[in-house]
Amino acid sequence: MLGSRLITAIVVVVGVPAATVGYVALVEWLVGRLPFIWRRRLRPWLWAGPALAFLGVYLVYPMVYTFVLSFKNANSSKFVGIDNYKYVFTNASSLTTLRNNLYWLVLLAGAVVVFGLLFAVLFDRVRYEPVVKGVIFLPMAISFVAASVIWKLQYDYQPLGVAQTGTFNGLIVALGGQPVAWLVDRAVNNFALILVGVWMWTGYGMVILSAALKGIPVELIEAARVDGATEIQILFRIIIPMMGSTIAVVATTMVINALKAFDIVYVMTSGNYGTDVMANQMYKQMFLFNNFGVASAVAVVLLIAIVPVMLINIRRFRIQEALR
């Protein structure tokens, strides 16, 4: 048992680099026998070839296949046209998930940028900055499932007259209010879930924005002060415009995270009480209902929603590169 494991480990540790080096050596040997002009044309493709092959097998092929499946029925035995997409955009529960993803998108991206920026700017001015930033960043280290369980306990609800076990309701009742069923009450439950996401991601936004903030030349800000600008004016007229591209990066990352939101919803409400999101819907259709058609259609819709965000990211990246 141990012996076979050891052999596997040796094969992996030695074999993988050896195969990589072997491939490169082989390619170079082959390319070396070609005329000079072909060497230049072929070499990049051959060097990048394995990576492209992996990408094709593990990303492009499943993507295309998912696209095909989205036009087939539940067990993929016959084509049904756009029925699955019709379902996604007309079914009442499916529409709720679209609405919720919109909530996630706007609120998660918005709150992470605003709080991240706020913390970055405020903590930039205190001596104990590393400690506070560490604390804010800490939730990033927890898994989403663990965080959801923690917050589920915080949101715990007990009827009035019974000892409150949730942090929030404990506070509310101590102040003389009525306990709120945070995860069940449709007026607040979506926001309660998004708050968990904000709690988890704010640290990430803060760290990136703080790094950008420290990249702004001090002379610039001092010059503004000398010219009589107020701190608020400096923030909105100098700091934020100069951090524009970084803010865009954080915001687009959060948009992608919002579209992918799954763990928090799955653990805390399972998508009940009007809190379902698309990723959870995809999971249910696929693994619970064995409906490959609708599951694939949801996946394609998610993909299409993410594409523009990625395009924006790439364009910004290109502009930045061009400026350098």
Binding site: N75, Y157, P159, A181, L183, V184, N272, Y273, L288, F289
Partner: protein, 648 residues
């Protein structure tokens, strides 16, 4: 190496000395001085050898020191007695126990509680069993051997046999073959028997005895032919299932039982393995539907398998995968043991393809008898009485009901159980079956009425503690917590039999019958036949071999099912020949009576629906609790799911 040996020698000495001390512990003081005489006798010989010989010499002076002669010299390690020549070839458990650590071994019908001072070294503790019928000639006439077992305890470091434990372990055997007159014998390696009543406690179905080692095996006997409920011993039942022949071979079994359930199933089949020589290759997986489907489609089905749901069983049967059991089982026995309701559930196209091995009753109403007595509340005979009682309780200032629907991804299922209980009793079994089969619409008057009937309790303000929010956020396991507060938050709760363990966990110290009890889900009209909704596991056969035939015959017997019944854990048998008295407590006994006496037995409807339908049902329960006035649109939505969910 040498140092190690000296060390283990010292350890053996220590163990020996402590063992001598152990003879004065309370558990052993009732001994008829037999064990006490052991010590001087033993100390006469050299120490390591003594550990080997103490017990036989002590408990049986008639044994001609058989083990003495084989005892090694003082310099070598004590060797293990040869149990295999006596027939102890089946290893029921092989557990590693850390030094000075308390540990509990469960092995077949046996439980061995090892106290922390039993071993001062890490040990490998094996529990061996033998076919007890092989010892028939050795036991006094009028008795029959029912269980035979031995311990093989080895020092994990040195691999030396440990014949004497630092403190006695508490041994328990559970079997319907044990009766109040059962006897316990030491079985020396030369085959001689000596009765050992030291610290022995026997009751119907259960025997406990402290064991401090001994280097002997043990045999439990019962008076000839006297078992609980007149059952055969499990070994006899197993042998009969194999047509009286020790045929050997093996059989593969697949089921969803893991953990405690797996241990109970293994206990159930242990006598079968010893009696027939057939080895059972058991696989337990929580992902039964996927594993079974994959294996069947891959042409590699298990010989026997538990069916994930009756629905899945019907699919396999329709594909011709399942063997008709009516040609294999003795149908006159089966008809005596199982009411027609149970057999109907396992019948497809008039072929019996599944037989229930394990069941559980749904739909029991739990209450605190002290509260009912104090307020002079009567157990309601009808649903309308129960609603009246609820109003009476509400008027007295207590909310009558606790309802708890939260259960992670399956939140809502306790509500589906309520509705199933109502549909069955209000609309009857035909509508009930059409409902889960997808032929009765959700918007049909019967189903809609059932929801509205449930609404008399859950959609009526003041009827449920905490209202909708508490219902939706309280975990199903905590449904009973409010029954036992002072003053109680509620006086009644609805849940299946398994909830008792949650009651005891949530409110430590409460006792069944005195602190909590149940009444059956009330019918809607007087003189309705007793109906129950159940859930449970059916065993079906994919491959017909002599071994799989023997096993399914055995599993259907009351002797086999009694083993699991005794072990508890919410297990109930559908076999009416399993003696009710064997269930571990009175509540389970009464619940089991309802189960076997029911004239109408149906299976949990939501578990029988396609996944998409079941999931929509769960969500519908939650939506209804939040907004009862939207019932019509909820049911219409369920109808639209019904149209697509069954087509797949």
């Amino acid at each position: 190496m040498n140092k190690l040996r000296v060390f283990s020698l010292v350890l053996t000495l220590v163990v020996f000395v402590t063992a001598c001390g152990a003879t004065t512990t309370p558990t052993l003081t009732t001994a008829p001085a037999a064990t006490n005489t052991a010590a001087p006798a033993a100390t006469d010989t050299t120490a390591p050898a003594a550990t080997d010989t103490t017990a036989p010499a002590a408990t049986n002076t008639t044994v001609p020191a058989a083990t003495n002669t084989t005892a090694p010299t003082a310099t070598s390690a004590p060797s293990a007695p040869d149990f295999s020549s006596l027939g102890f070839t089946t290893v029921l458990a092989s557990d590693m126990i850390t030094a000075s650590t308390a540990y509990t071994i469960t092995a077949g019908p046996y439980t061995v509680v090892v106290p922390d001072n039993a071993f001062s070294v890490d040990v490998q503790f094996d529990v061996l069993s033998a076919d007890p019928t092989g010892f028939q000639s050795a036991v006094p006439s009028g008795e029959q051997p029912v269980l035979a077992f031995a311990f093989m305890v080895m020092d994990a470091q040195t691999n030396e046999f440990i014949g004497q434990f630092g403190a006695p372990v508490m041994f328990t055997a559970q079997s319907p073959a044990i009766v109040a007159d059962s006897k316990y014998y030491n079985l020396a390696s030369d085959g001689t028997l000596t009765e050992n009543a030291t610290g022995l406690q026997v009751s119907a179905g259960m025997l406990t005895h402290p064991i401090a080692g001994d280097g002997v095996a043990w045999l439990i006997t019962s008076p000839q032919g006297s078992t609980v409920g007149g059952l055969r011993t499990p070994e006899q039942a197993a042998l009969a299932a194999a047509n009286g022949q020790k045929i050997g071979g093996s059989v593969t079994v697949l089921a969803e039982w893991t953990g405690g359930e797996q241990a109970s199933f293994l206990a159930m089949i242990a006598p079968f393995e010893t009696a027939t020589g057939i080895k059972i290759e058991y696989t337990g997986t929580r992902d039964l539907p996927a594993v079974l489907t994959t294996r069947v489609q891959g042409g590699n089905p298990p010989d026997l398998s538990v069916m994930p749901t009756p629905g899945a069983m019907r699919v396999f049967a329709a594909n011709g995968d399942l063997v008709d059991l009516s040609t294999i089982l003795n149908m006159s026995d089966i008809n005596n043991w199982y009411t027609s309701g149970w057999l109907d559930l396992g019948t497809v196209d008039s072929k019996l393809v599944g037989v229930f091995v394990k069941t559980a009753i749904n739909g029991l109403m739990w209450y605190d008898p002290k509260v009912f007595d104090a307020n002079n509340y009567q157990i309601p005979a009808l649903w309308s009485d129960m609603v009246d009682l609820s109003k009476t309780i509400a008027d007295s200032g207590t909310t009558p009901w606790c309802v708890a629907l939260e259960s992670g991804a399956a939140t809502g299922w306790p509500g589906t159980n309520w509705l199933e209980d109502i549909v069955l009793r209000q609309a009857g079994a035909t509508v009930y079956n059409g409902w889960w089969q997808g032929t009765v619409k959700w918007t049909s008057p019967e189903i809609k009425t059932a929801w509205q009937t449930w609404g008399e309790i859950v959609a009526t303000p003041g009827m449920v503690f905490g209202g909708p929010n508490a219902m939706l956020t309280t975990n199903f396991g905590n449904v009973g917590n409010g029954l036992f507060t002072s003053p109680p938050h509620c006086d009644m709760a609805h849940q299946a039999i398994f909830i008792t363990s949650f009651f005891e966990g949530g409110t430590p110290g409460i006792q069944p019958v005195t602190d909590f009890d149940f009444f059956g889900f009330p019918p809607f009209e007087a003189n309705q036949p007793l109906a129950t909704v159940t859930s449970g596991d059916m065993m079906s056969m994919f491959n017909q071999t002599p071994q799989s035939e023997a096993l399914i015959r055995y599993l259907a017997t009351p002797e086999a099912q009694a083993i699991w019944a005794q072990r508890g854990g919410g297990y109930q048998s559908a076999n009416s020949a399993v003696p009710i008295s064997l269930y571990p407590d009175e509540l389970t006994q009464r619940a089991s009576q309802r189960l076997t006496q029911a004239q109408v037995t149906v299976f949990d409807a939501s578990d029988n629906m396609p996944n998409a339908m079941q999931s929509a049902f769960y969500t519908a329960v939650l939506d209804y609790i939040q907004n009862p006035s939207s019932l019509d649109s909820i049911l219409q939505n369920l109808d639209s799911v019904q149209q697509t969910a069954y087509g797949q």
